[in-house]
């Protein structure tokens, strides 16, 4: 009798748990995006070209239907080759073809807020990522490089949309725009600012 009671209790609590977590899709998701980024401000003075070499990947956990937390990493490569010019310097005048590069690898914690319930066809959201970024700076004078590698604080507000492939589908299309800021100083760069556009997929996994 005790055993039966025990099993009934287990069964009932399972149903209860089921009811509580009767969500549209599992809370944990993985996302991966391709990113394009434009340099802004002093970063643009250093390296003027839009970066088409970038990606972003992260994990998110829905705490409820709208609030989520997560972790994110990624990569963005800024690269500009400047035609031969003479650069006056305290060391003399140097004629060189400069190649100016910066590779950024962020590692951030994220907090997100979805503006609609998860059963909607389009889910707009806002997100903020706070963390660090590895800044790999290499400025080439011809084949000779001045380089520096450091970790810097990086904050990233974001707005975007998630579009599920079906009403309760765990797979969604994601597109977002992020503004990246870091008080990074190196050479001509007085702070790191970029506008990043990403598109990709988000999978909810269980």
């Amino acid at each position: 009798m005790k055993k039966i009671k025990y099993w009934m209790l287990m069964f009932a609590s399972c149903f209860a748990a089921q009811a509580v977590s009767a969500q549209v899709r599992p809370p944990l998701s993985f996302d991966i995006n391709y990113s394009v980024a434009s340099p802004l401000s002093s970063l643009k003075d250093y390296s003027n070209k839009t970066s088409f070499r970038g990606w972003s990947a992260g994990l998110q956990y829905m705490l409820n239907d709208q609030l989520s937390v997560g972790l994110r990493t990624g990569f963005q490569d800024f690269y500009e080759k400047v035609p031969r010019a003479v650069y006056p310097d305290k060391l003399g005048d140097v004629s060189a073809v400069q190649t100016r590069t910066l590779r950024v690898v962020p590692i951030q914690a994220t907090v997100g807020w979805a503006f609609t319930k998860p059963d909607k066809a389009i889910i707009p959201y806002a997100n903020v990522g706070v963390g660090v970024a590895n800044m790999d700076y290499e400025k080439y004078w011809g084949q000779f490089v001045e380089s520096d590698n450091s970790w810097q604080f990086l904050v990233t507000p974001e707005i975007g949309i998630n579009v599920p492939f079906g009403k309760a589908s765990p797979l969604m299309f994601n597109a977002n725009v992020r503004y990246n800021y870091s008080p990074y100083k190196m050479g001509d760069i007085t702070n790191y600012q970029s506008l990043q556009y990403s598109a990709g997929l988000k999978f909810h996994i269980n």
């Binding site: 944990l28 993985f30 070499r53 990606w55 990947a57 994990l59 990493t73 990624g74 990569f75 490569d77 690269y79 080759k81 031969r84 003479v86 060391l91 003399g92 005048d93 140097v94 004629s95 060189a96 073809v97 190649t99 590069t101 590779r103 690898v105 290499e138 080439y140 004078w141 011809g142 084949q143 000779f144 490089v145 996994i205 269980n206």
Partner: protein
């Protein structure tokens, strides 16, 4: 649950791997030999280049190598081209070529530096007794390098052109360097590049003229 953990850890590993290997463009694979070269020029801001009329140039090129303590003289095809191109460039700037015994105002020395194997500092003025001030008619004198000169870490082949003021020797026959050009990069010792490298060095030195 186990499957999720496997999935998550493989994704994390993938992300970590991608982050640090990246998909970045390698500048060294994206440049021609011409683009790899840099030309550095220095000059003595106190020198009055318009006050010089004549110059003399060395008849062979000093070769400094970390493999031996002393320098050697050489006259390869590259060296001949170097002497010819620098002579022509000086003449184009209004200076007249004379023999070193005819008391020239400026002396032009040419050096190839070969430190292909180790990093050593190049000490400007270390000519190993080849072009000592006695060569220019100032026995016992020394070279004077104004403070604007910088010693570069040398780890490859370089070529240097030095101009010395022979008109105004300092105390104790000290001879001042008034202009230096240093070429670094890939193809610096290639004969067919000499004329464009000499041209670039003179083009970035508009003050070097007596016209």
């Amino acid at each position: 649950m186990k499957r999720t953990i496997y999935l998550l850890s493989s994704i994390a590993a993938f992300a970590a791997m991608m982050s640090f290997s990246g998909c970045s463009k390698d500048p060294l694979k994206d440049m021609t030999p011409e683009e790899s070269r840099i030309y550095i020029t220095n000059h003595d801001t106190q020198a009055n280049f318009k006050s010089y009329a004549t110059f003399s140039i060395v008849d062979s090129v000093a070769v400094l190598s970390n493999r031996s303590d002393t320098s050697k003289k050489a006259l390869t095809d590259y060296d001949k081209q170097l002497i010819a191109s620098v002579t022509a460039a000086m003449q184009a700037r209004g200076y007249t070529l004379v023999n070193k015994n005819a008391k020239p105002d400026l002396g032009v020395a040419l050096t190839r530096i070969d430190n292909s194997f180790t990093n050593i500092s190049w000490n400007p003025g270390y000519w190993g007794g080849i072009w000592d001030p006695g060569y220019w008619g100032y026995p016992g004198g020394g070279w004077y390098w104004p403070s604007y000169y910088v010693v570069y870490q040398v780890s490859e082949r370089q070529t240097a052109i030095d101009l010395f003021d022979l008109k105004n020797p300092g105390p104790n026959n000290q001879i001042t360097a008034v202009w230096n050009a240093l070429w670094r990069g890939t193809g610096v010792w290639t004969t067919s590049n000499v004329s464009s490298m000499v041209q670039a060095s003179f083009d970035q030195s508009p003050y070097l003229t007596n016209k």
